[in-house]
Each structure stands twice: as structure tokens, then as C-alpha cells.
């Protein structure tokens, strides 16, 4: 009976329907091989995947702003006085401090990466040898956090400078987009800073090393993304005037 059943299934649709628990090692990635009990690799993959998916959403947000930026530069309004389409776009001069802030952020990505590698190394070592080296390590995470806060402070200085010159969000379309883009990025980066603070606290507390490694790993992913996003926005503001 079982043979007939199996044969009939094989006959009809060998790839669908039947198949059974596969006795060859299934591909690790998406092959439905998860057994629901997360080991380090599985958990890290899960959280990395989550952050990457989240990044896609943030990208779409900034793609929309970019699209609005480009459209707004190009369109004109019909001016009945002159009988022509007139555009009111006046390119804005990007405050010089932004270059400094960019360098700070770039450097923070370096320190973030150092923090990530150190933490992951320690986790792997501990897993392999069952010990954890308790030696003091350079506070890469702390430095990154300070640099991140420094970036935001630098952006705040830029905004203060502009308002002192009388350039507000509503002054002209160019300034509107400047504020919208930099403030949006700043807010997302602030989220990153909060993640950094959380990661800093986690590394100091007594948590399994694997958890610490995942937290730092995933925070690093987000942080690098914020850096890349800033480079993009900065380039947009400088080049696409």
C-alpha cells in the first residue's frame, strides 16, 4: 500500500507533493532547513536579514525624497505675468562644516568596524576554546558612539549657522530639501546612536558572548548603512544643485 502510494506520487509529480525529509545536506540558506532552534549562526543571520530588509524600506524613503528633489528642481509654475513657465529654484550653498561632519562619520565607520571585528573574534574564540579572554580591549564601541554624537552635533551646528543667516526650511525650495534630507538622515542616525548605546551597555553587562556579538554585528551593519546614506545625500546636495 505504502509502495503504491509512494510510486503513485513519484509518477505524478516527483518534485511537488512528495519529497520527504531530504537526506542530503540541504543548502543552509533558504532551503527550509531551519529547525527553529537558533544557534549563533542562525540568530545572527536572522538579525542581519531583519536589518537588511529594514534598510530596503529606508532606501525607498530616501528614493522618494530624491525623486521629489529632482522633480522640484526641474518643474516650473506658469507665471501669468510673463506668460511663461518660471522655475524658482536657487541652488543652495552647502555649509562647509558638512565636510568635517562627513569625515567624522567616515572615521566612525572605521571604529565601528574595529568594534565589530573585536567582538566577533572574542565570540568565536570563546566558542571554539570555551574560554573568554578577559583582557581589556580598546573601547571601539564607545569611540564610535562619541563620534556619532559628534556628527549630530556638527549637523546641528550647520543648521544653527543657516538659521543665523536667515535660511530656514521655508526660505526657498533648495533650503527646504536641505533641511528635509539632512534632518531625516540625522533622525535615522540618532536611531543608530541609540543602537550604539544599547550595544555599549550590552557589551558591558553579563550576557552570552554570542548575544553581544550579534548586537554589535547588526549595529555595525546599520551604522555603515547610515554612513553610505550620508555620502549619497551629501553628494546629491553638492552635485545635483
Amino acid at each position: 500500500m505504502a509502495t503504491a502510494f509512494r510510486d503513485s506520487v513519484l509518477e505524478r509529480e516527483p518534485k511537488l507533493g512528495g519529497g520527504g525529509p531530504i537526506d542530503i545536506t540541504p543548502p543552509r540558506r533558504w532551503g527550509g532547513d531551519g529547525d527553529g532552534s537558533p544557534q549563533y549562526r542562525d540568530r545572527r543571520r536572522r538579525y542581519r536579514l531583519g536589518v537588511i530588509v529594514g534598510m530596503a524600506a529606508i532606501v525607498m524613503f530616501f528614493v522618494s525624497l530624491t525623486s521629489a528633489y529632482i522633480v522640484r528642481q526641474g518643474i516650473g509654475n506658469w507665471d501669468p505675468r510673463t506668460g511663461q513657465y518660471v522655475t524658482d529654484w536657487v541652488p543652495m550653498k552647502v555649509p562647509g562644516i558638512l565636510w568635517v561632519n562627513t569625515l567624522i562619520l567616515l572615521f566612525s565607520s572605521v571604529t565601528m568596524e574595529m568594534a565589530r571585528r573585536r567582538t566577533v573574534e572574542r565570540a568565536v574564540t570563546a566558542q571554539q576554546f570555551g574560554i573568554d579572554s578577559e583582557q581589556k580591549t580598546f573601547p571601539w564601541l564607545g569611540v564610535t558612539t562619541i563620534l556619532g554624537i559628534g556628527f549630530i552635533a556638527g549637523q546641528a551646528l550647520a543648521w544653527k549657522d543657516l538659521t543665523a543667516q536667515g535660511v530656514y526650511i521655508s526660505t526657498n525650495p533648495s533650503s527646504s530639501f536641505f533641511y528635509v534630507l539632512t534632518v531625516s538622515h540625522g533622525l535615522h542616525l540618532l536611531g543608530g546612536v541609540l543602537a550604539l548605546l544599547y550595544a555599549s551597555v550590552t557589551t558591558l553587562l553579563a550576557r552570552p558572548l554570542e548575544t553581544k556579538a550579534i548586537v554589535v554585528d547588526v549595529t555595525a551593519l546599520y551604522w555603515h548603512f547610515m554612513d553610505a546614506l550620508w555620502i549619497y545625500i551629501f553628494a546629491l546636495l553638492l552635485i545635483a544643485k
Binding site: R12, E13, N77, W78, P80, R81, G83
Partner: protein, 269 residues
Amino acid sequence: MGLVLLVVIWLITLLSTYYFAIDKWAMLPLASAHGPAMDSWFHTTYIVVGIVFLAAQIGLGWVVWRSRDQGDQTKVTYSHGNTKLEVLWTVLTAIIFVGLNLAGARIWAESRFQGAAPGAVKVEVTGLQFAWYFRYPGPDGQFARTKPELADASVGNAVGIDDTDPAAKDDFVVGTLILPVDREAELTLRSQDVIHSLFIPAMRFKQDAVPGLMIKMHFTPTKVGDYEIACAELCGLGHYKMHGMLKVVSQADYEKWVAQKVAEKQASQ
């Protein structure tokens, strides 16, 4: 239950199709040059979609009844599908849908890809909360400058014509659109505040009036008569009463009317 479903589905289908077929609440009789082609294309789409609608719903009712569990030992046909059939109906559907669209594209192209012919009657249409105003350029064929700060319906300058512009001498504004029959009209649509939409069902004409844009559209009325204009883009609490009229008159009556209006305008200066 299968039979009940079949009956209900078939009845609904046949009743709806009946009312579509007899065209009980018909479109307003058309009175523009591009209208017949559009209505004819409507008809074609009707037939194609109608056949699909009937086939699908009658088929659904039939399948549901035929495949009901009759409480006996009939075996179910175990099958995961039929690739040949899938490919066949995918290709057919694609051909019918996309083909229908491409075949009818000419009508869109004719009314939208090209501008009005020279010599068309020019009218500037301004929509505002909640009325339509129609400005005619007069014998000089030029629309005068307008300034938003001058717009004031209470002093009779709803559109804000700048009287310092010499072209303003023969511009006049009315609340009813008057056009000569069998002559192409070029409408330039503007809006003073929010988006409105000029909809003249009998002319098979609709176009949004967007603030910040000057949108030129054209059509040719082919029958003398009075035709209603309705606003077709939500514009505020008075959207439902943003009503206007198009009067199509003979060429002679049109010229008389224009001359009279120009004379009135010049007398009032």
C-alpha cells in the same frame, strides 16, 4: 447548494448584462467630432469584456454545480495542473488584453498627442472654488496678462486681468462657455486655487485644471445645443455645485455674440 449558487451567480450575471446591453442609463448623446470613435471603441471593449464576463461567471456557476460532492464514491481527478493549458490561456489573455489596448491607442493619440490646429477658437478656462470662468481673447487673439493680486470676482475681475496690458482691451470673461459649431476649440485650462476638472460629458471631454499649469486641450463640437459642464475633481465643499454650461451655436451667432461682448467691454473702459 451547488444548484443554488449556480442559479444566483447566473441570475446576477444575466441581469447585469441585460442592463448593460439595453443601455438604460445611457451616456449623454454625443456631440463632438472625436466622440463617435470613442463611443465605438467603448462598444468594442464592451463586447470583448462582456464575452469574458459571461464566460467566466457562467463557467464558475457551472463548475461549482458540476463538481459538487454528490455523496457517492466518484473519485476526484488528482492533478497538479496542465502546463500546456497554462501557457495557452496566458498567451491568449495577453494577446486579447494588450491587443485591445494597442488597437484603441489611436484614439488617445489623436486627441492628446497633437495640439489644436491653427485657426481654432481659443478660450481660457479658469476653475476656482466653486465656479468656472471663460475668457475670450477678442479680435486680437491675445490673452492679456493676469495678476493673482487683481483677482476679485466682486468687482467683475474673477480671473485677475491686468488692465495695463493693451491686449486686455478686448478680453472678456463670461460664466458660460459659448462655442461655434463645427469649429475646433482650443481650451487652455487653469486653476486659481485647487485642482478642478472640466467635464463635458456630451463632448466626451474631461481634463483636470491644475494650479501652476496651463493645460491646452482641443475638441470640435458638432451639434448646436446646450450641454452641461460638471467639475470632476474634488475641490472642496462646493464641488457638487461647480456647474457650468456649454452653449454651441452657429458660426454666425457666435461672431455676433463675440462682437457684442467686445463692444460691451470697450464701452465699460
